[in-house]
Subunit: 294 residues, 4 copies
């Protein structure tokens, strides 16, 4: 079995009305997600609004998640920014706080060369005794991790998995063929295609509100039941459109969790803002197209 | 079973040294491809250098293919350009020549609006009593066919299938969910992912030299044997790189067929040119990486 | 002075209601455009719906234009497709019909390598004793002409100018620095920027309806009067948006010429279609934003 | 005259061998740049490795720059990240440290909606009594600022200028036409084109090593001397290629300053790394093509 399992949700960070982390809501959400079939949880990742969390909050989220789910699921800490030396410290703090792994995104905005990407990942992987998941998402980072760089990173004993949001079938095929990395789709729409090619699962956002669907699809794929997987994939289409293309995933996840009755405040921190009326209508129309009773 | 089957090769057009269509080599190639497992053959498609064929040559290729393979495979005529009224005539000529279907590409270069795309396809579909396969390839045409347009085209009784080279999982999912179109991957690298999602097969170029691989992968997928399909997908990776990314597919197909001992002249018509020495080395290195003994 | 002058319109081809070329309207349009300041006219170019013209019509358009404007302007024949041997014949026919030059687009759709692009242009340039303008427009052709290829083409005695619609300031700078090619902006919005860098003029579509503006801007730039050029550039902004981004330029040019009272039938040939009601509203709003009284 | 003048360098941050900010080298560099004609200096911007500076270092750089150049040039503090509340504090600290303005980049990585972009800029602009320059660079930020958003931001009394690295002539034209914003090219290759259209100057990286060239080009443009401006633009072509396309600008600037004899340590902070041997060769070849004696 893959170290982090198959279904992983990149969790939102709920805030109170006065803008503090709402650890109670966060723990309740963690429990709900594990009850619904998650094998691991990402905390303080992109969808967790990592960019606007304080360091102590990131550490607090790791502790809260572990306290809530114990050994029922692994907790993966989003430890990284585009500042390597700061990330080393965050990796160590995550380890001390009890994280089971760390998710490390390609440095964004400052656009290192591939030599720099390699050095960054090696330094962070060395910093803590934590299984590390590479996160390749050029649409956010401004640069891709080239396949040659991934092949070299795969040799590091701590680097075990890849969250792949590059949408490049050729590159992914080469990684799957030439390395032992456990590959996760980092794009909710690509799960069926990626797992068919040999990816082990997904790090999902839509799973905040559609865990049972993803669990069904993943279990079908693990059983090579393509028929069932296709049915769920088709059902998820408009849901994923609503959650991922109308507003940022952190915004939509809090919004729709609230609509579905999970007690959560939909506030996000600037520069993110809540969905406006028009955006809400679009999300609602997508979910209704999926047959949801909202 | 899908009307055109699962494995389709978009055939090259061999030329003699004095630049006439080499019908003998073409028929021998058609027989070889059907022997190796093709269900249908595309003639005078993009890889058949349709842009530089005369109308009578296109018609001759349909007759030659039918004469060579009889009822053992269906023959799909590449009938289309970016000039609708000319295409209507070519559709009728293909029908009279015995074609079993037609492949119609999005008008390229002149960039019609979606209204124009719709009108173009409807006119061509009306022109002949031939099952029609839409070909959506924005990288060549300069425009994509929007999903909404495809949904409307799917209502036409002659429009039965889609050759999908758009590399857009979201769009393909919607077509698979909302229409009865038989979808073929139009990108050799995407076959496993696309068939997992519900595509019925591939219109391939690499199959000129790797039919048995594609047949194995397709049969595995039809049997839901993802393990076997992944093995073949991995083996095909460097082959597809060599055939599709170093030079144009018509150029590489003739070159490698020749290397493999199939009697064919590697000449192509201008503006295409044969691979230069450097390009040949790249192709060779890719095929050797795949373990081919060249 | 540059061989083809500074202001060139890529003319539409008017059709009669029964779909024949309307030579009378075409000649009247040619006269109008030269009266308004054009130095040369492109006939049977992209905007002339070259893709859906018959060969004899292309030849007829050259004769008609020469007959209409005599020595008052040069006539540049759009001779090219993606089929080299056919283009050689069209180059010779254009020369016999009296063309003063030819405009040759990068082969589209069949995606030759740069070796092929080079061979194509050299063959066409050799075919007729006509000054040749290269047309680099990757958004339509699917491939760009690399700078290295342009540098080599610039050595051919017939190749005198470049219609540059690549929108790549770095590449254009290198061409301007290293060759004697006369460079024309092939993008109406880029004229001011391109001429500031050393381009000699524009091959325009919007000039069907805004010749006096382009003439004013060009004359200002030739006099280094940036202040005046900027005023006209600003005025042209919404006009160019209306003409170039709402529908294809051939469609908008016929439509707006008709609105402005020039006697022309707005029909285009399939796969192009006339603007629908919504598109017309958008064009109208743009022109009204520019202060046009429509 | 524009508030920040015409020529602005986005300064690197020199480090000592033991990785502290080298304020002495920084001040010497500031003096050199002002001596060579800069009107303003950006400190702790992207090229200043803002992502890997501590907050106290950013404040220290503002104080050091002001101390070095006094009233001879304005100091613009790069105050922003993708975390709005942190940026408010940094804006206030920059103001207290004596900055003359602030440069605020579009929030990167977390991809706010345009509502979020608007709210972010308004909050930062409200936070300090400092003239604010918007920085629109979708290639780093992952999102563009839409023209409609810029038009609204232009109404804020503190928002005075735009550093435009979007390379979209249509959008820039609309901003120049409809607002009073002082627009600077944020792309060294675009200065001539952008200033011809009405931009007031450049925020440059290449100016670390080519100030006299930029000064000559800018002065020529202010005098409408396009001939002279084109000569300098052509000379700068290979220099800009070497400084901006081979390695990150911070890396190349330190490297080439050192080559030119300015006393600076070429170290950068991870995830950036120094140029490797191959990259150095490329930069060197570019500068030699420009006639530099290196």
């Amino acid at each position: 079995d893959p170290f982090f399992g198959h279904l992983i949700t990149a969790m939102v960070t709920p805030f109170t009305k006065d803008d503090r982390v709402d650890y109670d809501a966060f723990e309740a959400l963690a429990v709900k997600l594990v009850d619904e079939g998650n094998d691991s949880l990402v905390v303080s990742g992109t969808t967790g609004e990592t960019s606007t969390l304080e360091d102590h909050e990131k550490e607090g989220l790791v502790r809260a998640a572990k306290s809530a789910v114990g050994d029922r699921a692994k907790v993966i800490a989003g430890t990284s920014t585009n500042h390597t030396s700061h990330d080393l410290e965050m990796a160590r703090r995550a380890e001390r706080a009890g994280a089971d792994g760390q998710l490390v995104v390609t440095p964004y905005y400052n656009k290192p060369s591939q030599d720099g990407v390699l050095a960054h990942y090696q330094a962070v992987a060395d910093a803590a005794d934590l299984p590390l998941m590479i996160y390749d998402i050029p649409g956010r980072s401004g640069i891709a991790i080239e396949t040659e760089t991934i092949l070299r990173l795969a040799e590091h004993p701590h680097i075990m998995s890849l969250k792949d949001a590059k949408n490049d079938i050729t590159a992914t095929t080469e990684v799957l063929t030439k390395t032992e990395l456990e590959v996760y789709s980092g794009d909710d729409q690509n799960v069926l295609a990626w797992m068919a090619m040999g990816a082990v699962g997904v790090v999902s956002v839509t799973s905040h509100v559609a865990c049972p669907h993803f669990r069904r699809m993943i279990d079908a794929l693990l059983n090579y039941d393509l028929k069932e997987a296709r049915i769920v994939h088709g059902e998820l289409g408009p849901v994923i459109r609503g959650m991922m293309t109308r507003v940022q995933g952190a915004v939509s996840s809090k919004l729709v969790l609230d609509w579905l009755g999970f007690p959560i405040n939909a506030d996000v921190r600037l520069p993110l803002v809540q969905a406006n009326a028009h955006e809400k209508e679009l999300v609602l129309a997508d979910l209704r197209e999926a047959g949801w009773n909202l």
